[in-house]
Amino acid sequence: MSDLLRFATAGSVDDGKSTLIGRLLYDTKGLFSDQLEDIERISTRRGHDYVDLSLLTDGLRAEREQGITIDVAYRYFATPRRKFIIADTPGHIQYTRNMVTGASTANVALILVDARKGISEQSRRHAFLASLLGVPHLVICINKMDLVDWDESVYQQIHDEFTEFAAKLRVTDLTFVPISALRGDNVVARSENMPWYEGSTLLNYLENVHVASDRNLVDPRFPVQYVIRPHSNTTLDYRGYAGTVASGAFRKGDTVRILPSGLETTIAGIDTADGEVEEAVPPMSVTIRLAEDVDVSRGDMFARPANSPEVTQDVDAMICWMDETASLVRGKKYAIKHTTRWARTVVKDLQYRIDINTLHRDLEASELALNEIGRVQLRVTAPLFVDPYAVNRTTGSFVLVDESTNRTVAAGIINPR
């Protein structure tokens, strides 16, 4: 049970996203006074009559010069209940790549909607990507309520329209909060201007949203990351398999099935540097010792005899292409990294490209370019141990690397059979 919450924010400056983040940071003391003075000074120098909070997230020179945000920025704040990691993804450039990166590890996706404009194409895109990346909780902040006279019917209309759209996506938990990021209404403090709203403030929601049960605690999966074999006199016979529990629970005495060999043995002990533990669950990094001396190396996986992932060289996946220098084409070979395992793969088929605005499937697509998403069939040189992404974000995900450039070119999400 961890009280670390990762959330991704998506949207552009126009939606008031920077203002919202600035307010969350400032009201929770996640922003320091010299940082604030810094952006006040720069805002004045540029002739603004307001403090441009977007300067907080625009860290690179090119971003400040062009007034745009290029890359995912990470921000941190904490309340007595939780520590928060914000992956702040820009709306303008390379939108999909950044959003996919930010959403890949997020517990919550926060989407901003301008109350005056209603749901935009961008909001739909955000929601689709959040659902594709399996973000369990989606919160829609209907911002700038002050500019629509705090009108409940505006809120209600956006609420109903978005709920209808979300029904087409795999969104399990959808929440709406009417806010004014500029004035602070319903961000940290409850709004006196919208007595008709009975739900939580945004911060209250973020502090209390239940994320422990989002983890897969059913299917035991332990990708072997590193073999620990000390070569000292006191620990001569020690042989442990280090890794991070991907899902499920492992206990001392459990029978494990080792993949790819299929051998079965029992867990002799689970070690950490602070001593032995009885049980290991996500996201613990531990070292597992086995009762028998069997051949195990990095890239192997521990599961249970009655609960194992699929062992396969054929993968059906959604791919998000992230490289601007080359496109994905049928027949091309890439390196693939899945859990702690590297292999090579060939793209056997590109079935369709998906239009992320309309969700329309283009069956004629012959390639995937930067920020495009499509469904592919891959053949892999060595078996992978996979589960569908929808049930396991670790064993259901992979990246592709172009071996001629070493660039990470794609994120992959494994489909159910």
Binding site: G59, L60, Y74, K337, S397
Partner: protein, 300 residues
């Protein structure tokens, strides 16, 4: 509340251990940068945990500016002896003597550390260098990856970073290229101190508040010592101070504080309203893009 705080710091610990193991498994020749400052102390602690009961499977390197607090050098050497580490010292004074770098007029050796670091990394053939940088420290750092790709000149190109999705890190490099790895990316200063206090990790005593002789220069308090002698017209005073960062002794200021235990430091940092660099570093306030520029040149 203590257990709640420990919960998230433990989660950060697991993430960092995962990163250490990933690098040890995939990179040919990693090295851990160790300065004796709080972040590198936490890094060393995490590395020891990641490979326990085996030793850390890589050496540690200190880029010694020659202007370190003597207490920090002593602490470094004690840690090396205690854990049987292989220590490489890349010396800035030696590099100045050899003519590799020239000292800057203001006495800062921050910028000239970079060529010394790069030369040492090249000499030893390191393809991965662990650094203790955190994303909460600075705007340019907020956009850096955990695995930060560097070209054959050690340069960072912020517009050409590898996407980092899930925890599937890509450390593949061609000969001469390298990866800087930042296991503490998601830690804040408060997390670092919470962890140090909860694990009871030893730190140089300069971090703890004590009566020290200091001189006020432009609102910053510098300890009077061999690196910071009093100049004409200056007077010193005795104040209860501690250090929030361990930079060069001639440029790192102390802060007034009563925090003389690790627990009190945690309380102090939880309430503090100035960033550590803003409060204590004379060498970071150069320009809006100072850090970005240094990183492009190969700085951490």
């Amino acid at each position: 509340m203590t257990t709640t705080v420990l919960g998230h710091v433990r989660a950060l610990e697991y993430e960092s251990i995962h990163i250490f193991r990933e690098v040890a498994a995939e990179m040919e020749s990693p090295c851990l940068l160790f300065s004796g400052g709080k972040d590198s102390i936490v890094m060393l602690h995490l590395a020891l945990k990641a490979f326990w009961p085996a030793r850390i499977p890589f050496p540690v390197m200190h880029v010694d500016t020659g202007l370190n607090f003597p207490e920090v050098i002593d602490f470094r050497d004690a840690m090396v002896a205690e854990h049987g580490l292989e220590l490489i010292v890349a010396s800035v004074p030696e590099a100045i003597e050899r003519g590799l770098v020239r000292p800057e007029p203001n006495g800062s050796r921050n910028r000239i550390q970079t060529p010394v670091l790069l030369a040492a990394a090249e000499e030893h053939g390191f393809d991965a260098l662990f650094g203790g940088a955190r994303r909460d420290e600075e705007k340019a750092r907020a956009k850096e990856r955990v695995f930060s790709f560097r070209d054959e000149f050690g340069q960072w190109d912020p517009k050409n970073q590898r996407p980092e999705i899930w925890d599937l890190y890509n450390g593949r490099v061609f000969p001469g290229e390298s990866i800087r790895v930042f296991p503490l990316s998601n830690w804040t200063e408060l997390d670092v101190w919470t962890y140090i206090a909860s694990e009871n990790i030893a730190v140089p005593e300069l971090y703890l508040a004590k009566e020290r002789e200091v001189v006020d220069r432009g609102g910053m308090l510098y300890a009077v010592n061999e690196f910071v002698p009093l100049v004409d017209g200056e007077t010193s005073e005795v104040k209860r101070v501690r250090y929030r960062t361990m930079g060069d002794a001639n440029l790192t200021a102390a802060v007034e504080s009563d925090a003389d235990t690790l627990e009190k430091i945690v309380e102090e940092i939880a309430a503090v309203r100035l960033t550590e660099r803003g409060a204590t570093r004379g060498d970071d306030k150069v320009s809006e893009a100072a850090m970005e520029d240094r990183k492009r040149e190969g700085y951490f």
